[in-house]
């Protein structure tokens, strides 16, 4: 037997170590669950980390009301399947007022339905640590993010005021009202995530698999057209064989042309992809960058 771990098992061991530190050191941690592939991997790792015991924290889903219905169905099924406690939080006020990216602009819509909703949910639950499935390879401001990322009492991120992070020794100490966002899969890449989903047979939302979907072409993007509210005047939907590389809100998440209907085909596609996955996320483009949003408290 060789005494060297594969890269996936090395990453797995690191993530499990991180989650156990969180549970051992914080009073009231929570795991943010966005239903996407990264969340699915993080949740699977959490089950491994605390086996044979149950998950020692709740899952929190910030629902903007614009998540694909396949995501909501999957979320409710999977939480029940693994016996997890699920908290769903929505900014009902903004949803009732009809917040929509085409109406408010992407930045304001995200600010209300995601950032504010997340900060409110964390405050309501009194959570002192929130684990999330962000990866450092996703976006350039994330490349400098700590695994244990300090947030002030307003939940905001100050890139200049982050703690040095050495070895695998994480400083978990905070004052009342402050919190830490923890990213257990910081060191995973998109490829690692797909390979691990395949290796471990982790269930994922069917939207990741290719099929004929009703879409509208907007510039270089393919936007879901199931909901007429997502259409701009003059746009005509058509049936396209496609899948989603990342999942967000339906008005702001583009699909890619694909015929990958199995996990093997998805891994092969990820291996030869020439464009980054965030390219299909409208929120990453525009003047309000990920760095700006993170400073305001965005995940």
């Amino acid at each position: 037997m060789s005494n060297t771990l594969t890269h996936l098992k090395t990453l797995e061991a690191e993530s499990i170590h991180i989650m156990r530190e969180v549970v051992a050191e914080f009073r009231n941690p929570v795991m943010l669950y966005s239903i996407g592939k990264d969340s699915s991997v993080m949740l699977h790792l959490a089950r491994k980390a605390f086996f044979p015991g149950p998950l020692p924290f709740s899952l929190l889903h910030v629902d903007t009301g614009y998540k694909f219905h396949e995501m909501i169905t999957f979320r409710d099924w999977y939480a029940k399947e693994i016996g997890a406690k699920l908290i769903v939080h929505r900014n009902e006020e903004a949803i009732a007022a009809g917040a929509h990216p085409l109406k408010l602009g992407v930045a304001r819509c995200c600010g209300a339905l995601k950032t504010k909703a997340l900060l409110d949910a964390l405050a309501a639950g009194g959570f002192d640590a929130a684990m999330g499935g962000a990866r450092r390879d996703e976006e350039r401001s994330r490349a400098k993010e700590r695994i244990f990322s300090f947030r002030d009492e307003f939940g905001q991120w100050d890139p200049k005021n982050q703690r040095p992070e050495l070895w695998d020794l994480y400083n978990c100490r905070i004052h009342e009202g402050e919190s830490i966002r923890v990213f257990p899969i910081s060191n995973w890449t998109e490829m690692d995530v797909w390979q691990y989903i395949k290796l471990e047979n982790i269930p994922i939302v069917p939207l990741y698999y290719a099929k004929e979907r009703k879409m509208v072409k907007r510039g270089s993007m393919l936007i879901p057209a199931d909901d007429a509210g997502n259409l701009k005047p003059g746009e005509v939907p058509e049936m396209v064989m496609c899948r989603f590389r990342t999942l967000g809100c339906s008005p702001c998440t583009g699909a890619v042309h694909s015929s990958a209907t199995t996990i093997e085909e998805i891994v092969a596609e990820a291996a030869t992809a020439t464009r980054s996955e965030r390219e299909t996320r409208i929120i990453d483009h525009g003047s309000n960058t990920m760095e700006d949003k993170k400073k305001e408290g965005y995940f």
């Binding site: 005494n3 450092r136 695998d168 020794l169 890449t189 390219e279």
Partner: protein, 429 residues
Amino acid sequence: MNAFEKDIFAAADTELLRFTTAGSVDDGKSTLIGRLLVDSKGVFEDQLDAARNIEEKKGAKGAYLALLTDGLQAEREQGITIDVAYRYFATPKRKFIIADTPGHEQYTRNMVTGASTAHLAIILIDARKGVLVQSRRHAYISRLLGIPHIVVAINKMDLVDYSQEVYEKIKQEFAEFYGKLAMSGGEVTFIPISALEGDMVVERGSNMPWYQGETLLEKLESTPVTGKVTAKDFRFPVQYVSRPQTEELHDFRGYMGRIESGLIKVGDAITVLPSGLTSRIKEIVSFDGNLQQAFVPMSVTLTLEDERDISRGDMIVHTESQPQVLKEFDAMACWMSETPLQAGKKYLIKHTTSTVKAMVTALQDRVDINTLDRIATPPELKMNEIGRVSFKLLKPIACDPYQENRATGAFIIIDDFSNQTVGAGMISQ
């Protein structure tokens, strides 16, 4: 990419190597990382296009390579790397994590941070300038942090006509200096490269037929990712005690943690430190089924033959090979806070999974990281300074000298008023 390559790329059984690069903009560090990412196809076209667009507006030839690793707003404004950035790429043979750190003296703490998790360090030397003060500093920090493999990449060979003579001269100069570093061990490799043109990075190029050694990427792919894994090195800090107390698991008591070094088997005789309680390993529990043996860096759950009072912060080790249990020790410390370290001050120390109150009893010396001279009994350690410090703890900890065991010899220093991480320490004895 052809079908064969695609197949290998989809393989999930490659190893992971973490390495660090230290250097400033002038050394071509960002260009080198950009080159590694581009030539190993670790960059997507949309990211490449964005960098090329900026280059067209303001950059010199090849500037897009450096622009790929552009960081935060403040760094872009100043055109320097301040914080550690983590970058990822893969080849059919391996996955890599780069801790990309700045090279200036005022960012020593960031270099130390990046070096703490690295298994290999690339030290960049500008072929036109030879071994500079900062090259010595980078070499010293790499050795201080116990990085086992050091690659001296002699860069900008294109600007010295790819001269073997220049390469040999720098190699000799560095080797002489390195030999004087009073720290044993560490393998050193020299590679002549041109990050801008690509020679000896991923491709060999045709400009240096006189160099027969590995290219930089070949070296990264062939360096062993772990040292020898032996039973005697087994160290298991207890992170969390699992007592689910459900119906089926009524009496289950598992000790969760990560094997920081060595190897353990079911039935092995163990001792718990600092208490000294003994027992045997009953099971190695994992989600994927119980294991007969486990090794570094696996995260597992151990159960013991006997019921023992064990909690977070304790360390499980082999009875026949125990670390020291110390309440006082000397350590090399790198200071990271604007408020200096002084003798008589109290801090918290986080060492493996235990956090203990500690007092600085003396400052033995400070290292001038440029000349490597030692200045005895300095009044304080300022931010980015490194020195030998004596600590006295409220409670004893189980530990090894850092140069023998990075995981059980390392600690961070926390200010218990601000909660900031103010320093890093490496136990010397």
